[in-house]
């Protein structure tokens, strides 16, 4: 029962000949919310790409629920219950809201169920169901991308920079939803550049800089001085 749901073992990843992650170890236990913090260019998004199967690591192992999933395709992982909301907006701008939800049915859920749960949580999306997703406001778009995570009941959720380009009020609303997802027992790995917005939700925190884990521990124990030295360089 103690096998972590997601485990990265000594992961190295590179774009072309430039290595970005130099041996990263990270575990997300069942029902845990882990915050992945770090300054610009630390390799946070690369790590999410590796964990979601978009980028193949050049060395190391990706373990999911104790099984080796290194090299598995992103779509296979997604159908197995790994839900990733990528950086920016995780939506298809030229599809309608309803068609975006139809794309979520690859997870094995019925469209009617997904629609029902989404519109119950976000009534505003129900009003816009035949509107092109790209024409909605930034907050609404992010709601739509979270809706996939909420409706498809994933085993683990990877969130990349949820707050990007959004007003603080909307960000805190979205993080309430993340907390709600976590409360249902979903494990969450959340990337955030703004540490304070996420530390309230997270159990564990991992600090990444220069492609290596600099510090990890209970979210409440990550001190201001550690963050400051990682972000500003000491």
């Amino acid at each position: 029962m103690n096998t972590p749901i997601l485990e990265l073992r000594n992961i190295r990843a590179s774009y072309g000949s430039i290595e970005v992650l130099h041996g990263v170890n990270l575990t997300v236990g069942r029902g845990e919310v882990v915050a992945l913090l770090g300054p610009n260019g630390a390799g946070k998004s690369t790590l999410i790409k590796v964990a979601s199967g978009i980028l193949r690591p050049s060395a190391g192992q990706l373990m999911i629920a104790g099984r080796d999933a290194t090299g598995a395709s992103a779509n296979a992982l997604a159908r197995a219950g790994l839900c990733t909301i990528p950086e920016g907006r995780g939506i298809f701008p030229n599809l309608t809201v309803r068609e975006n939800l139809l794309m979520a049915t690859y997870s094995g859920h019925k469209l009617s169920d997904i629609e029902h749960s989404t519109y119950a949580r976000f009534p505003r999306l129900a009003e816009r169901r035949s509107q092109l997703a790209g024409t909605m406001s930034g907050g609404e778009q992010q709601m739509l991308s979270l809706a996939r995570a909420l409706a498809t009941d994933p085993v683990i959720l990877l969130l990349d920079e949820l707050s990007m380009g959004l007003a603080p009020l909307i960000v805190s609303e979205l993080y309430q939803q993340v907390a709600a997802i976590a409360a249902e027992g979903v494990s969450v790995l959340v990337v955030e550049q703004f540490a304070r917005t996420v530390l309230g939700v997270a159990d564990q925190a991992v600090l990444l800089a220069h492609g290596k884990v600099q510090a990890f521990g209970k979210a409440s124990e990550i001190g201001e001085d550690v963050l400051a030295s990682a972000y500003l360089g000491s």
Partner: protein, 757 residues
Amino acid sequence: MQELLTFTIIGLSTGAIYAVVASGLVVTYTTSGIFNLAHGATGMLAAFTYWQLRFDWDLSAPLALFITLFILCPLFGLLTERIVMRGLQGTTEVVRLSVTVALFAFMIGLANTVWPSNGSREAFLKFFEGNTIHIGGINVSWHKLITFGCAVVVAIVLRLLLFRTRMGVAMRAVVDDRSLTELNGGRPNRVAMFAWALSAMLAGLAGILLAGEQQLNIEPLVLLVINAYAAAIIGGLKSLPRTFAGAAVLGLLDAYYLQFSDNSWFPQSFMGFGLSGIRASIPTIVLFVALLVRPQSRLRAGTVRFREENKVPSWNTAVLGAVSLIVVVVGISGMLTRSNTLFLLNGFTLAIVALSLVPLTGYAGQMSLAPLTFAGLGAVAMSKLPGDGNLLTLLAAITIVAIVGAAVALPAIRLSGIYLALSTAAFAVLVTKLIFNQRQTFMSGNISVPILDIPFIDINSPRGRLILSATAFSLLGLGVIALRRSRLGRRLIALKDSPVAAATLGMNLTQTKLAAFAISAGIAACAGALAGDKVSPQQYDFTQSLPIVLLAVVGGVGTVGGALFGGLLLGGNAVLANAVPSLKNITKIMPGLTGITLGRNPSGATSQISEKFRPLLNRWGIISFSALGGVGIWALDASRIISHWAFFIGGVFWFLAVMPNLIAIIDGTSQRRWWASAIALTGLAISLGVDWDQAVDSTGKRLLSLILLVAIFGVGTQRVAENAPRIHHSSPDLLGLDVALTPDELDNVERELGVTI
């Protein structure tokens, strides 16, 4: 009134075929971003396959249709996607288009091979041949009704598919965001395969319907797609309803023109130019107009990384290359037979045409499908201008064509990518139909272009013309490299890399594009003007331009060497076809086959080859040794110790198999060094020692032996001599600080920064 109705029905039925073709184009373009120039050729193959099953093997029509449309066409589409198109992600539009050109050439070659046009064959009958139905006072054939019905069904099915099914929605989702589709659990590769299969079915359906209306010939069926381009462009390559409307308009225009042009009041000529070519040009004119009224293509922001990369040669390399090319051509030209001289001459002419694409397509990233059209205009200008071919005439011809090139580009300049390429194609077709095919232009089917008249030098022989064209290529190539290293050259590169960044820096995009087009047209005009022989309009036909564009891209359109490679390969292909009749069919398919490999190596073949030679340039000792070896082989030939063939094969072997491996041999460990030298020397001994004229009885077999020799001994030497690559994979943060740079890395860094010669 009755007549008008008849022609309306004819027009709508033609439009229905266009609509089916165009919708197939739209399906693949929207899902994979690849504009499939080979779409018509797919339809042509399907029509031939159907004919084979239905009329040659006498299957029943439903069975033959089922096999063709629901088994073979989808299978073909699946394979096309899997084998060819999947490798093309992240390549430029130029490479993607070229690959479809390759496919196009491949399929035409295939059809020519399997169904040669000389044999008589069973007729291709319409569906329910002879049956008509009476509607509103006129007779309509069942075939026309079925055609019309098919278009309606296709429209409804596509609409339902794209908007009501998950597969259809996924097809549109892939266009929006490929990796997000994966994160949702969709399989983009499967979606793309489905789209290509669907598109092949639509092409097949249209091909079969059209073959019933017309005759079963390769060309009209293939060119059908050009008519459909216009419809697809009217739909913005996106909207299916507008595509269908566009197709209807095209069909009606064609039918009404047919009706009105029979009347006596209809003008038969305009300002002395016959108008008989107009009807065939209607779709092209519509295409041109549709392109021109398109809204300006938006400049795309954001960084776009392409997989192609080309290095700029230094002046030393360029001059060395140009001089050695001329020396080699002068050296071997004396040994060639007359026919081989003409073939090589043809190769160099094609190389100059391919060179015209280097500044335009390679540097500025603007696709042109009409290089030969400008060469044709150059030939016409050279022969019509006074002066009987002196240097001033040549200059005037080049200037005129360059101005024409800029003038043609002016209206099309707002377009980019595929739209620009199509407008050049439309231009090429129009020029061919309305100018080249006129009596006034080509009197009795051909005109003679005067030989260039240079004072004190007589070049009135094939050998002279060969040397002239090789010299012209070298000089123009140096000019192109000079251009690349100039201010304008950097602007061309900026135009390709990031139009947005260039525009925000205050660069005038229009001027830069016009300059690129003018320069390109001027270089192409040179190729035509230096023809020095009788030329016919067929030589400059639009369809002949496609293989040149293709092979230039295969060779590497970003480099002068790539143009030479492409031109000579195309010329060499003709040699091979001529020398070995049994290989003729393979040579028809070959340009297509080479192009299909592009997905794996989008920078072109020469960049790979020159990578091998690059290390040589820093070591003058090795260069001298290589040159000495070449001279030595030539001396053996000159003193009649070995034959011309042994010289040729030995020389090529020396160049391709020995020279690139010299450094590895010298730097290798002592044991490897001996083995590698032994292998290289064995290969050299075989290529020089065999009495090729006696032992091998045909040119083709000799060429094949050469290829085998290089492949076996060259690759063998390389494998044995090669040192393990020493490339660090450490982070750039650390490299050079915590970890020392290796000599190779230093060399590479200096080269990238341009601090060494």
